[in-house]
Symmetry: C2
Subunit: 203 residues, 2 copies
């Protein structure tokens, strides 16, 4: 399989951690890929017209995106216990927290684009404050329900850890640790997994 | 069940069509809700810290988001043929096209916010062009693989129709019909379904 890859993308990291945790990483070739909303990547567009990372091309030529779809696909390929529960309250809890975690980085990336991609003078403070409110409320929610991240490994845990890692790496919302001791203790423990250590973003 | 609702949201429409097509709509109460990235909605934030629509609260108090998660949940509640295939190539095709369709409106909404939410003088033409490229390439992809939208009803069809409907309603990318006769013929036929007729956006 071929994975359009960037080592600093939290969505790519989630897929790579998922692959490592399910023993599939050796079957996936990483294709280093650069994306930015103002610089169309025509190579990537051949397999994903939205030009977003990650995008997976399977050995039989299926093109898969976004990161959730790729994780769902990878979860179907291994014989171990599933990281996305098949049914029941556990499934909805994992899927909701996955969305929440993704929403944190979606908002963080919009903040980052605001400062990085846009021309100076075209940056909107109300827009940034709106995105920061989503991040801060989302983190507070995770702090309040951190027990939902306990138990056997799930995609919710991987997604949360990759989002927190990215928020600490790029710091769009500053210091996220203050007032969230339980969440960050959970994160620090989760970070000890070899899959997380092997995928720490650099740059 | 309680659904935070706005009649002009393509993501809300997808959930409502899904509910109608699976016979669940009578069990869902609509709570009219206004959201904008620069105007935090504190009521919605109690159930979804990301403050996005749709958000569903189930009768047993589960909070579910985003629209995909809600559709997956609704699909688990009915006894008919599933709109999200359980496994195999059909599943990955439906999930990929669902992502593609959502990506069209994600990009369209960013274009719309650029003109509507932002202060004048803070609008970036390169940003808008980057989002329009995603929309146009995505629509061309759907035109080229329109046969993937044939066959029995799936979430891919509902998502695509709701996205096309929104792009025609708000017109962030202008006239989307030109050069896409097969896709738009498919859409016009799909629009005859009572579920689509009952959910045409107004405003």
């Amino acid at each position: 399989m071929k994975l359009y890859f960037a080592g600093t993308s939290p969505y790519v990291r989630k897929v790579v951690v998922m692959a490592m945790e399910t023993g599939l990483d050796k079957k996936i070739e990483h294709v280093p890929t650069s994306v930015a909303p103002t610089q169309p990547n025509k190579e990537l567009a051949k397999d994903n017209p939205l030009m977003k990372l990650p995008t997976l091309v399977t050995d039989d030529g299926m093109r898969l995106y976004d990161s959730y779809v790729i994780c769902d696909y990878l979860d179907s390929l291994h014989k171990g216990e599933k990281l996305i529960p098949a049914a029941g309250p556990a499934r909805w809890d994992v899927l909701r927290i996955h969305t929440l975690a993704s929403g944190l980085t979606d908002a963080g990336i919009l903040c980052r684009y605001e400062g990085m991609i846009r021309e100076e003078g075209k940056r909107s403070e109300p827009w940034i404050q709106g995105q920061l409110a989503k991040i801060n409320q989302g983190l507070d929610e995770l702090e309040n329900e951190v027990e939902h991240l306990d138990g056997r490994l799930t995609l919710a845990q991987i997604a949360t850890a990759c989002s927190l890692g990215w928020l600490e790496f790029r710091k769009p919302a500053g210091d996220i640790r203050k007032g969230r001791p339980k969440l960050m203790a959970w994160y620090d423990a989760f970070m000890k997994r070899p899959s997380m250590q092997a995928t720490i973003p650099k740059g």
